[in-house]
Subunit: 347 residues, 4 copies
């Protein structure tokens, strides 16, 4: 069945698979010390414009979030997140599992506001009882957010400034970073992110790889003994080459950016298709996740012909659903979706 | 450089890669609910002779150990391991990180003795202060062990009996299970393991896969909400298909067992080559890891021409080193190694 | 300086100290197995009307909350609390430290609403992604709340019903339980609490003891090996007698209830004094904590003559402050406070 | 029944109780910020000869160990202890519960050897795989040990030197510190301990107080935000005065040392009594815990008339048992014990 359920429904981009085939029998050392990891790191450093960046490859997103956040925080610190942050909702308590509280600030279409963050931090340190409370020790944002929205360069700069004034590291979850960087409506570059954040990751799983996220600590900023933290959290793979080869392929000949742009092109086509048919959007997303409001009866009719994600109720009779494109989405499938919509409407 | 450093120096068996290519663009749902995972589980159930086994795929070994052990134990329980157990030494404290103590019993060439385990458990419950101590809540063994040795069926049965008398689950770490099952000197089958253990895993990373371990809870024995434990420990991959496709390939047409047997054949050839040249062995290993005693001067000469693992000192002037074969080892490489040994000796 | 800062500014009721003196040299076994603990438990069981209650004595409140909640929950579960719950704010992340998330529902003058709790639980289990989320595994309420307010018997019954329908234990934090039970406006008895809750504690530290909280699991409901949980959390004292003797004294001749009623009488006198002088209250508290709104200038004048707690800003120019009475508050001190208020106003 | 079971069978020294009575109604602030804590800290600083020592009062020993060790360690570090260390055996896994491994070195009558510690640390850092292992981040010793034995000044100096060469803090558990300092066979003073250790605690629970341990970080060495660690571990009491008053009394007019010397005098009398009657000792303890070897038949006869602790079997027919004296032991009770021994022997 046709699927727009998420951006991880297929395997990997063929160039990635090709590179895995070519390198398959070359013997390499384990645990990320191999030649492919080395090459991939160099290419990512170049793409970030930071020759001093410390880079690590980790298999998945939740694993990355819990390992990075736990390594950043001291025992009495927690991480500040918007209420809708992935770490606060959909990671089964992985952060708390590492012993740290997720401290929440309000969300605005999935984003955190620098002024509200500043007020939260000021309020905390002004509270005479704060030594009985969890100290804010890191700030977590996602870009694109869980709602597909993006920070502007001005917004990201403001968040970075608030964090630096307090000496609190800013961590950007880039599970879908390629789709954010290639959005038609962004003014934020990979170099900006490296300059403004203290740690971020470049998502591979949702952008062309079989698995893998590249964690970047700009300016030699990795926590002490980070590799042991990675091992302790079960986040180290014996065949580190699996991640190195993939990121090497993704950062060769602009592949990561080209396939991300393709996903954006497909999202725009999908968006226009829905809009042209009079559908309402839950919010205006400039990336590969599109949130549509569907009457429940229509939602149920569509479900039998195409897969998408249920997001939540919208009033009494409607629901918010998500259609996601990706590097793998074909124009043909968008056309098939539109045909299904037309047929569903006629009925 | 020629390498016998470990059993994860290459990528994956070509049949596994081939299957990844073939299925690459088929859309599937995420998080292990896909068709390939379903098929792979059926094949593993058949191989285990247990149609009721609960099966989960996890990326790596440390991750599997910490997730399974933590899910098995209550808050006041620890896991019993031989002192040389991987969970006690080389996982950077991952078990303690989940809040549980590793309780140790002596090791005998890497193995735990059922009588000593029984004495430990009796001693614990007989101690009038035991409510102030960590309760033994699970038993961890590896097969093959960290020293390449194997439990006999009688030994495994005795361990299983001690555990069942106490109602304590027995967990077998099978990171190299294929090499154990295909050893020329074993009387233990996969069906025996499923019958005698309460949970075990079938290692993929070291036996032909890019990554992945198959966790088996025989007789519908999975802990309640195990999937949420997996997510919480960061051990769930979005593209669960990556693991399903690989295990599906490995358990098709006996591939897992055939490539394991090949590694054993190569290990026997390597073993005979060393023996014929008068080298001493640290212990007699019937599997793919061979532990050789080398004079330090010779070890240093060899290091420049072939990679192997340093295991520890052996007296004043010698060391124990490990040579590992795998599914990927070629006869040609064994011959090259022997030629290197001959040249090194002549010098 | 005169203090209404909290309800733990003095030592212990003299009858408690007297009993410590009398029993001081009698040799007893350690860790709560002594004769005084045994007697105290019997008296508490009688007061609760539950001869089958399991009872444990723990030194302090945060310690009690973290030990009880952690023992109640499985690894993937969290505790539901109102946003203002002590466990969510003022315990320095002690619950998260034990690996569990605090899941929040709205507060209403410090209280949780049974309908909102039910909606939260329904929403959780209806969410198709809930296996990627923290399961609600216990419900935490305080009575009196952090705002001095009380649940009615109907409200408590409704919460209990919601919990029992879901098989989720209800935990009542009774750090100030005596002051709740002796309020002039309550219809809830100790027996009601034992009947409606699955675990609660009777606060000693704030109600006449030097230290100590009595944890009650009605109907033999203590978690398995709870004593080992207590030890593991560092919550077991060698001289358990210290807690046993105190609770024995408090539950002899109605002392706990009598001194609690005295605190309420003092609170009513204080409340009338403030009201008669035209002060506004932040909310109407029927217990020993009274929340007054003070213009900031007046607050600063008062601070030099009497101690009270700052609670937070109230508009631009005023603040909410707390005045607490206790078993130790004298009428004379209330009169002195009123005189200070009068003088401050005249200036 | 007469008891030599432990050193916490009675309440508190009468001078301590007296001081609690005298100060009972004086209003003080909470959480250890009171006047009595301040005075007690000054007196302890003077006794340690370190005017810059950071001092904190915590209720019990396990709580102190877990809070201090967890605050000292980073996430990937563990604590080194002799195998018999209290933290390794009798704290129900409290250290592991905080996420840290207890790394063990051999014990010699309960003591750690500086040479073996050094070899352990050297071996760790020399191991090429150590980044996959738990880093040693602190060293834990007890003085007196769990076997009543003491480090000499030379031994303690050697341990301190090994730790300082590696930059690893040395933590001394002084649950029975008074009895060590007043031993007739020690050359270690409180000032030596403050000079040689990075943190230690002065036990109150077993030396004259109802409860309480004084944690000392010499030379302003407390970890950042230690008070929040204390709160998070549930180790902070609202009525901090309870601990301040007691330590103030204990460190007034040499009380702590005088009552400790009394316990030693009683231990010597007990020891001579056993020796004179031909009993064998398990080891030669210079402090208040004496370990006697009893034939099992005699042990059972004695059990009906006097309480002592069972320590473990000693060959087929005998057992090791412990008789403890304390500040509260009377000469009369020693005489009664000897009379019981004589009667038991005659039968």
């Amino acid at each position: 069945m046709l699927s727009f359920e998420n951006d991880y429904s297929e395997g990997a981009h063929e160039a990635v698979l090709q590179r895995l085939m070519e390198t398959n029998r070359v013997q390499q050392v384990g645990y990320g010390e191999d030649e492919y990891c080395r090459q991939a790191k160099e290419k990512i450093r170049a793409a970030c414009g930071d020759p001093d960046a410390d880079i690590f490859f980790i298999v998945g997103g939740t694993q990355t979030n819990m390992t990075v956040i736990d390594a950043l925080l001291s025992g009495v610190e927690g991480v500040v997140s918007a209420t809708t942050g992935h770490v606060n909702v959909h990671e089964a308590g992985a952060i708390e599992y590492t012993g740290h509280k997720v401290l929440t600030v309000p969300e605005h279409e999935g984003k955190m506001d620098a002024g509200e963050l500043n007020a939260f931090l000021q309020g905390f340190f002004a509270d005479p009882t704060h030594s009985h409370m969890v100290y804010p020790g890191a700030v977590y944002i996602s870009h694109p957010t869980e709602y597909g929205t993006l920070y502007s360069k001005a917004e990201l700069t403001a968040l970075s400034r608030v964090c630096r004034e307090r000496g609190i590291p800013l961590f950007l979850d880039g599970a879908r970073l390629g789709y954010g960087l290639m959005s038609r409506e962004t003014d934020v570059t990979l170099g900006d992110i490296a300059a403004l954040c203290d740690v971020f990751y470049i998502g591979g799983t949702k952008v062309g790889a079989l698995c893998g996220e590249a964690v970047v600590f700009p300016r030699h900023g990795a926590p002490d003994r980070f590799i042991t933290h990675v091992k302790q959290h079960g986040a180290m793979v014996a065949k580190g080459r699996l991640l190195g080869v993939q990121f090497d392929a993704l950062f060769t000949d602009n592949l990561y950016f080209d396939i991300s742009r393709h996903a954006i092109d497909m999202a725009e086509k999908l968006k226009q298709g829905f809009a042209a048919r009079g559908y309402r959007f839950f919010l205006d997303s400039p990336t590969n996740q599109q949130f549509i409001i569907l009457p429940n009866a229509e939602m149920r009719r569509l479900e039998s012909r195409v897969r998408f994600s249920y997001w939540g109720p919208c009033g009494e009779d409607s629901s918010v659903v998500r259609f996601a494109t990706s590097w793998a989405t074909t124009e043909e499938n968008i056309d098939r979706l539109m045909a299904i919509l037309d047929e569903a409407t006629q009925r």
